[in-house]
């Protein structure tokens, strides 16, 4: 998947402006930056709620479910995008519904989530095997490739992201209420359960979008780390939501830039490393200010 840049051997100079001009001369890089922006905004905002709601495990499961979706779509000969969204949405509804039919306890929910995740990945492996065992195809689905993004794909990403963000904006206040205090929200007549399922569906959408760039296994990096970093930095909800988006976009663009200039290392490595470095820096800053008594964590 790196063949198209391998021949050119781009060199990084000290002139950043010239470097950026050079990167943007290639339409596929422009598409990658556009797609990265869309994906980072959506996953940042959805991930912000995911971190607040402590649903990392569900988020990770919805993220990896994209792999069987894409593999199954390729197997039956339709566009991988359809499979990605179909599987992510189905898994979102399933995770939202199944625990309700049995125990309401957390352990049951996590066992169900873990089983769904492992079984979905096993299905993906079966699909890849049935398709003819193209191993490179499997690694591309799992670890992503940002080089082949077309203008049409960017349009699809944008349309889905706008719809998902519209829904998120519409349910923002009740969802925030239900997240902070589910019992009080329920007593006030907020449909906590329905909101939870709608949120899982949004999470599935975001995961399906991100996985087209980072691959199924590393979607989680964009969902969890920018939001965790922002919530370390400030307890104010509005500010940390905006900060999440800023960090997400910066990390995505930075890693696209780095991946372009280092032809032998994959984007997933840069994406996770940049994001993790941001998190560590925020965590260190938080410890420093907490020691001097300036900051206080107000988030639950």
């Amino acid at each position: 998947m790196r063949a198209s840049t391998g021949d050119l051997e781009p060199r990084l100079t000290w002139n950043i402006v010239a470097d950026i001009h050079q990167v943007l001369e290639f339409p596929f890089m422009v598409n990658a930056f556009r797609a990265g922006f869309i994906v980072a905004v959506l996953s940042g905002l959805v991930g912000w709620f995911m971190v607040l709601r402590r649903q990392s495990f569900a988020g990770h499961t919805l993220a990896v479910v994209g792999f069987p979706g894409a593999a199954g779509a390729v197997l039956i000969g339709v566009s991988a995008t359809w499979g990605l969204f179909a599987f992510a949405l189905a898994a979102g509804v399933l995770i939202g519904l199944v625990p309700a039919s049995g125990t309401r306890g957390y352990s049951e929910e996590s066992a169900v989530t873990g089983t769904i995740q492992a079984f979905a990945l096993a299905c993906g492996f079966l699909f890849v095997n049935l398709y003819g065992g193209s191993l490179n195809g499997a690694t591309a689905l799992l670890f992503g490739s940002f080089l082949g993004i077309t203008a049409d794909q960017v349009t699809v990403l944008a349309v889905v992201a706008v719809c998902a963000l519209g829904v998120l904006a519409a349910i923002w206040r009740p969802l925030y209420f239900a997240t902070l205090d589910a019992d009080v929200a329920r007593a006030r007549g907020v449909p906590v359960r329905a909101l939870s399922i709608v949120f899982l569906i949004l999470l599935g959408c975001a995961a399906a979008e991100v996985s087209q760039i980072t691959g199924s296994l590393l979607v989680f990096a964009l969902l969890v780390i920018p939001a965790a970093t922002a919530q370390e930095l400030t307890p104010r909800p509005g500010v940390s939501a905006i900060l999440t988006v800023v960090i997400g976009v910066a990390v995505t663009w930075g890693s696209l830039f780095a991946a372009y200039y280092s032809s032998s290392y994959p984007i997933g490595f840069f994406l996770t490393t940049f994001a993790f470095a941001a998190y560590l820096a925020a965590n260190g800053w938080q410890r420093l200010t907490r020691r001097t008594g300036a900051g206080a964590r107000a988030l639950p």
Binding site: F57, R104, T115, A122, F125, L126, P266, F269, A275, F276
Partner: protein, 310 residues
């Protein structure tokens, strides 16, 4: 009991089955690993630490590929990485349980390192063969085990199982009611870290059988099913092990009969199917408890006697 049934059926009906070396090795390694995963998984589900297991399974991928990229035995990397991250997760958390955002942030970065290792290892001269190694680590290659590999895997599984069973009583106490256990002098934090280390080592073991991405199913599905079927802790632990072993045996046999079906899919399909069946068998068993809490509300004196929700 399910295990013996399945084994004897396979033995008599498919006499050919155990005639192949690769099938024998798969059973020698697979059954002890499944029994171990069932027992450890039971505690993992009980302690609501499935996400930690998920994280450790992804760390296993990085460990194995890092070792391959460095040119040493993959198993060495597997155990080193999973045990090291287990200790970190255990120490970071409160009473040996880390916050899920911290877990997620750490493991996704470790997974990113694994991707780097994959690209380093996969860009060598034997790129195709090396790429296949990556897929094997992710999805398992139990039919590819040699005799010494299978024997080592079985031995380590038995040792880990003995450790788990011998610490079952304090672990159960600490899992069911952490505060009372701590007040009674049970070393809750040390148990928490130690348990995560066992989960990490189990993940490293199970990676050899079903692969880093799928072992979570072997840990959580039999355990979830066992918890739906019985309230008694020791019985549930044994049942979880039996269900895992049955999944292993049936899955391996199915994959032997249907060559298009990879063994790890067979194992996972049986395990998930059994769990799904328990939802049909015991539909609304615990409906009365309205609050999702980690701990039972009433303090428990004897861990073996009181098991309110499990």
């Amino acid at each position: 009991m399910t295990t013996t049934l399945a084994t004897s059926a396979a033995g008599t009906g498919l006499g050919d089955l155990l005639g192949h070396d690769f099938m024998r090795h798969a059973f020698i390694a697979g059954v002890p690993i499944a029994v171990l995963a069932g027992a450890v998984g039971y505690f993992m589900v009980l302690r609501s630490q499935v996400f930690s297991g998920d994280a450790l399974s992804h760390v296993a991928f990085t460990g194995a590929l890092g070792a391959l990229a460095a040119g040493i035995d993959a198993r060495l990397g597997l155990f080193t990485a999973t045990v090291a991250v287990a200790v970190i997760l255990g120490l970071l958390g409160n009473r040996g349980r880390a916050d899920d955002v911290v877990i997620g942030t750490i493991f996704v970065w470790v997974l990113g390192l694994g991707v780097l290792a994959l690209s380093v290892y996969g860009s060598g001269a034997r790129a195709t063969a090396n790429g296949a190694a990556g897929v094997n680590i992710l999805f398992g290659s139990i039919f590819g085990l040699s005799r010494p590999q299978a024997a080592t895997a079985a031995l380590i599984a038995v040792i880990l199982l003995l450790i788990t069973v011998s610490s079952a009583r304090p672990l159960l106490f600490a899992s069911l009611d952490e505060r009372v256990a701590a007040a009674r002098g049970v070393p809750v934090r040390a148990l928490g870290v130690g348990f995560l280390v066992i989960v990490g080592a189990t993940a490293a073991e199970a990676t050899q059988a079903v692969g880093a991405l799928l072992l979570l199913g072997l840990l959580s599905a039999p355990a979830g099913a066992a918890q739906r079927l019985t309230d008694r802790p020791y019985l549930a632990m044994a049942l979880s092990s039996c269900l895992a072993a049955a999944s292993m045996v049936i899955g391996l046999t199915a994959s032997y009969l249907l060559p298009k079906v990879p063994p790890s899919f067979g194992i996972l399909a049986v395990a998930s199917g059994l769990y799904a069946l328990t939802f049909l068998a015991t539909p609304r068993r615990h409906r009365d408890r309205s609050h999702p809490t980690d701990l039972p509300p009433e303090p428990a004196d004897e861990p073996g006697v009181v098991s309110p929700r499990t």
